[in-house]
Amino acid sequence: MSMFQIFGISGSAVSAQSQRLNVVASNLANVDTVAGPDGKAYKAKQVVFQTELIGASQTMGAPADPVPSRAGVRVSTVQQDESPGRRVFDPKHPAADDQGYVTFSNVNAVDEMVNMIAASRAYQNNVEVMSTARSLLQKTLQLGQ
């Protein structure tokens, strides 16, 4: 029955959004890390979402869906932002290079906060979808009683 698949669809969305939140947390934690001796600072990461069909066609003999009517989400890749990190002139810093510049990470804290708000909103919406589907199914179970 179609309603049961809603748990799979919204479940996948909830999991994808929580991965996104994890990535945001990693980025925010590393806002002020500096480049190590190898010269590589922390690069901000982003998740890329992709539509994924949930569950194979379960109706016997039904034609395959030409359109994704049970479209869940998954994280296809975690991309790194390759733009150069923030360079600050501070010769007294222990990690300063020969010219006295320190390279910090390229994380933009404001962007990450916006990302976090968007991810948590999407998470809440999908949890609401799941609980509505659950209460409707429970009412369906009580049909006739």
């Binding site: 179609s2 809603i6 669809i9 919204s10 992709q50 539509t51 030409p66 979808v129 009412k139």
Partner: protein, 150 residues
Amino acid sequence: MALPPRLTQTLDFQAQALVLRSERQRVLASNIANADTPGYVARDMDFSKALHEATRHGTLNAGAPDGAAMSLTIARPVASHVGHMGLTGGGGVSTLAYALASQNSIDRNSVDMDRERATFADNSVRYEAALRFINGSVRTMLDAIKPHNQ
């Protein structure tokens, strides 16, 4: 020789409406789940058209061993469709339309979260309404066949 109408014939319309409502619920859940996916286009079902289509053929294939025997009084036997418009809701899927994009977005995602949530809430209430109607019909039928002792 015409088959006598089944006892559950009065329930067929509401039962089909219930199946289509749950189908639409699933489409809306897919939209909400993909609100952040780049390139995703929001879909929706034209519910009244789908219901009209499903009840026009006049039969509800509730897992009968041979669908051909289920012809009803309002039957317009379109044989090729009898298996298609079953309880699996297969008819609804092929008639999915595109939801109009309200705002352009750089990542070509066309899901309008507010509209999806409102439509989802609306659809939930109508699903419950269909459940109530079915319940009412079932109770009426049970009342009619119950022995009433004077």
